[in-house]
Amino acid sequence: MQPDYAIIGGGVVGLSVAWGLLKRGFRVLVLDGGDRTYRASRGNFGLIWVQSKGLNEPAYARWTRNSAAAWAGFAAELADATGMPLGLNQAGGFDYHLDEAALERRVAQYEGLKAALGGDYPFEVLGHNALKREEPNIGPRVAGAILHHGDGHVNPLRLLRALAGDVRRLGGEVRTGVEVIDVVHGDGFTLTLADGGTVRAARVVLSAGLGAMTLGPKLGFLAPVRPQRGQVLVTEKLPKLMNRPSGIIRQVDEGGVQIGDSNEEVGFDDGVTLETAAAIAARAVAVFPALERAQLVRSWAALRIMSPDGLPIYQKSPTMPGASLVTCHSGITLAAAHARFLPDWLEDTAEAPDLEVFREDRFAVS
């Protein structure tokens, strides 16, 4: 039977949308790439992060907060269905600063956003001593931190696997190792695959990450996304060293300390570099000096999917009704929103979230 939706891209974004649609009773087909496809879903930092999001766009801050708030229920339902706990912890997160002035500048920005959101932006500022009570292992050079109570983290790989399993359990069809090279519209959609096969579906969601760069224009989207490299380090499994995650350092539930990250404009190069790794390591050691003796066991780089303003793009095709573009660089944070709220937007129900500010005509040259 022809699926209601073909989802192009089986990463966390595509699978979250697929999962949400399946829960609403739709027939869903997910088309996913191969083993060496660029995959932010395999290389991300696992944060469910509210602070610093939408400093210049309160609607993004709100969308992020709504997703963070929906995460507990989403994670519980997935864990229940798959028997696999996701390591979710949303007890707040830190933004560490070694430099007092930088901390103050950041606090001023947060105060501005808090005002724009009508006061609903729960953060506090901790000086070194107050921070030391929360995180006894911080080093003497840490000036302080912003503690945002809406922040948290999850085990992103278990999220990926839980989604991959539950989408199938819910009756979704997932085909891996395929590449969509063309899409034709007319009485539904016909998707042409690189292996010569075709797939038909009533509607299409393009959630192919960087794959949208080439496929997007064929569906009538601008899809102005680009790769941005982030390098990450992870240590051997250590006894508990820290209580909360931060934007650049966190201890995963399995014990490894994950340290990031970099923002590099290097095209599709997803290699790691010694220079950046050393800089990342130096900063981590400054925050948690005990890490000096921890063994680095892995490093990797992954490519973020960045739009020109860094915000997600939710766009319905102006030329191919029934096709939607869903892309963002915060697929973990927004997974709950994509699972819970996007089906209403895709289906144009009365409960559809207002995603007008995320349309891609904001990038059009006027």
């Binding site: 051997e236 499994k237 250590l238 006894p239 508990k240 399995e254 014990g255 003796r293 063994q295």
Partner: protein, 98 residues
């Protein structure tokens, strides 16, 4: 605790050093640390951070990381280290995640 090693030295007259294992003195042959601990009857070397399973040397050539021990606060492969007089060696610290 008296330990009996399955390993026997071909040349029991070999040079000795005194190291500390888990806080107690241990007189062992000089040379490869993993071999020294084995002949001293030390087993296991560690418990895994995943399931707390006991492990000891497996490959003796630096490939497998089952002989990890803590020296000077750093977890290192015992099979790649030479035992030195006074060296303090311990099982790596692992968190009980059960």
């Amino acid at each position: 605790m008296k330990t009996v090693s399955p390993f026997r030295e071909l040349d029991p007259a070999a040079q000795r050093v005194t190291i500390r294992w888990q806080g107690r003195d241990l007189v062992v042959p000089a040379g490869n640390l993993a071999a020294a601990l084995l002949v001293a009857g030390i087993m296991p070397f560690r418990h895994t951070p995943v399931s707390a399973a006991p492990r000891g040397p497996f490959c003796m050539m630096g490939a497998c990381f089952d002989c990890l021990v803590e020296i000077d606060g750093v977890n290192r492969q015992a099979c790649m280290i030479e035992a030195a007089e006074g060296m303090a060696v311990a099982m790596p610290r692992v968190e009980n995640r059960e």
